[in-house]
Symmetry: C2
């Protein structure tokens, strides 16, 4: 009889909860798919504001737009968080040619963010092609000095998760320029970080050189990288040179803002679940997938809660971080303030991997047993929506610094399908037209559903 | 000791097999992602051949191209299977206007495949808007006779699997025209089958009327459908009319072909695993996702086996079916011949839901216990590739008739992500540019991996 009683308790306590969860999640998806506002908000951000690199006029427009949107949604609190950001500008568009004897072959090129300019007449030099930073060491200053270093290790297309390929090839752009400068290179060109063979230069950021004079650094398209590599193999070395010119500048830092909106928790207003993306974008396009989609999805999650009249137990906070692309200052400032105010964050979720069809979420801060438990309880609820891959993994650049501020926090990355991300990443093709409405909406609904589950049941 | 012995057996018998499977699947993916030919083959089919509705010159070009491709890959057998197909032609492009008093508002329209033409001057009539075939019965001949019936039930965007939304709304196009004809309608227009609000008419096939005079039927864009519906609500009925004109024709049937290529099994050459898609396409675009991707993925699966020097135990057969779009004759003929020849099919797999990022496979012909077992064994192998959703479900139109010919067969549908499918389905936007290379390749590799597993371990 006792055994029976225990079973009845179990049925009473878990089954109705799951049914209730399942019903609310269905309502979240219905709202996102029938009355969703994420897509129209993204259109505005992309088409009426556009590129919005930190420190630019457009970045400030985006701050005002984001604040107004959250005020229009009547979130309980909407405010700005001050943050000083770098102000790098590209200047006039870059130019580059392969000089093959008397022939000049144009090369699609883009200065790497935070890089310095070339002299006004550009740089012309012989090329040293390498596959890795380690190879610089092997070659040494004798070979590298006075040359343009050409990092040409391929983005491995065999990674199923394209972010892993980006991670594997990324040191060439992040660290390569500063490392090459140490060996006396006069310039650096980097094969664009994409598994595709295409004609876009894919920009991005690089570490600013320390301990050596900064050298101009730029990305070239993968097709041009292949062509240049072939030519270097076929021709005698001195015959092939590269000329390139760029006009970028680092201007004085600028006061900017993270944009924050909250729905105050009914039971634990002091406990926070943060959801965010970054408001800044590269200057080459509209920052649609990177990271306009993360911004509008974060706001949409809160809007859906309000529309469904769901009053969360904990405070749900949407954060539009500034300066993810070339400094991470917004994320750092948010974490710094969280520490100062001793804010109690349960979890932070970031959407910064494109607005593609959802696959699930990656968790950082759960033990294997806790993650297994989350899978057992929540996978069945998210499976009908194809958002049920709940694994350990990286969360997001903007929320990562929170780990030091709130040791108990669980950091979560929204995991969309990654196959198309590096088609458009940091290129002129990252425009609104390349975002699919349903994929974006399903992402917003998936994120809102996860927030709902965390709010109701906690994570640990 | 006995217990230990049993464990050792288990380790010897299952772990090495799984390791071997895992290694071969990895090789399949590496080949598809680094040396894949599916994308280039698709480019040729789309750009050098193009639209290829059954009976057209292009359909015959596609047959010759498909046969040559499989011959060039040196499959063990390559042959054609004769099949008579309908030959419907659109003729000059359709025109339509809403007539609102003296105003003429143009409407994007496309004749529904297998429909008849209007008189040369077109048809002009008042409109009866309905949501369902059942509503026709309620209204009756008195109201419908002499009118244009306008089917305007929305494709429900709340279905996560968009194919379910298509299934739910599809009777309006499949059956609506013939049903409306029974009540004396003079023409039928159908809201395009897409959850989007866009400006494409989405064509497709309809059942040819029986028992009533066939009436001209066409699809209009969803935006135009919304506009027309609003006008019908706002204006007095006789004020708003529709005029449309189409010039389509059903010509005499044409001899065409399924294209078949095989790798002969080393142990059971008489047992067949079929993989296919359909070679015909609608006439409005290039039939890229529908179903060029299915064709090139099927050939790619066999090419990968040959390249990896994998000799299957059973015969693996790629079939490019003809006439899926407006008659299903290829699939019917294939099943008829399989019955005649008493061919022993283990399984048939169809890829006809777009070349998007893979989600998994749907199985028809396994018991729940068998499906559970397949999940237990194979899900871990397919999970790293995000192709591990193995559920019961519909397989494909071309392979469905096989169920009657081979009662033991397992029918399998390749399940890609469906979110973008009805953006382009049966519209001018179904072009090569809307197919992503990696997504296509991952699909080919996923299909090849499943064939490998079936070949090695069977399904039941």
């Amino acid at each position: 009889m006792k055994k029976f009683f225990v079973m009845a308790i179990v049925l009473l306590s878990t089954v109705p909860v799951i049914a209730q969860d399942s019903i609310l999640i269905r309502k979240i998806y219905d709202e996102a798919l029938t009355n969703g506002q994420a897509y129209n908000n993204l259109r505005y951000l992309c088409k009426n504001i556009g590129p919005r690199l930190s420190g630019s006029v457009n970045a400030e427009k985006a701050v005002r737009w984001g604040k107004k949107m959250m005020e229009d949604y009547a979130f309980d609190k909407v405010y700005l968080q001050e943050v000083m950001v770098p102000h790098w500008v590209r200047g006039a568009r870059e130019e580059a040619y392969i000089l093959d004897g008397k022939k000049r072959i144009p090369v699609p090129i883009a200065a790497i963010g935070m890089s310095v300019a070339t002299p006004k007449a550009g740089i012309s030099a012989n090329i040293v092609e390498v596959r890795s930073i380690k190879e610089l060491e092997t070659l040494g200053e004798k070979i590298i000095k006075g040359k343009i270093v050409f990092f040409n290790r391929q983005f491995d297309p065999r990674f199923i998760e394209t972010g892993d390929g980006y991670g594997e090839a990324g040191d060439q752009r992040f660290n390569g320029p500063a490392e090459a400068a140490r060996y006396g290179a006069v310039g650096v060109i980097v094969r664009s970080l994409t598994p595709n063979i295409d004609d876009h230069p894919h920009t991005g950021s690089t570490l600013v050189s320390t301990g050596a004079k900064a050298v101009p650094a730029a990305c070239i398209s993968t097709r041009a990288a292949n062509k240049l590599s072939r030519m270097l193999k076929l021709r005698k070395l001195p015959q092939v040179k590269l000329w390139f010119k760029q006009n970028c500048q680092i201007l004085p830092e600028v006061l900017s803002y993270n944009v924050i909106g909250e729905i105050t928790g009914t039971e634990h207003p002091e406990k926070i679940i943060t959801v965010g993306g970054h408001l800044d974008s590269w200057d080459l396009a509209e920052g649609a997938h990177d990271d306009g989609t993360g911004i509008v999805q974060s706001a949409e999650a809160l809007r859906i809660f309000k529309t469904l009249n769901y009053r969360p137990k904990n405070t749900i906070r949407a954060v539009f971080f500034m300066n993810e692309e070339n400094g991470h200052r917004g994320g750092l400032k948010y974490a710094e303030d969280a520490l100062k105010k001793k804010e109690d964050h349960i979890a932070a979720i970031e959407s910064d991997y494109g607005g593609f069809t959802p696959r699930g979420f990656t968790f950082d801060g759960l033990s294997p047993a806790q993650l297994k438990d989350i899978n057992r309880k929540w996978k069945p609820l998210l499976e009908p929506y194809y958002a049920d891959r709940l694994t350990a993994g990286f969360s997001g650049t903007d929320i990562e610094p929170l780990r030091d501020s709130v040791p108990s926090i669980v950091l979560i990355g929204f995991l969309p399908d990654s196959q198309r991300y590096f088609d458009i990443h940091h290129t002129p093709a990252d425009v609104f037209e390349n975002v699919n409405k349903r994929e974006l909406e399903l992402g917003a609904a998936g994120i809102a559903s996860l927030i709902y589950l965390i709010d109701q049941h906690g994570l640990k």
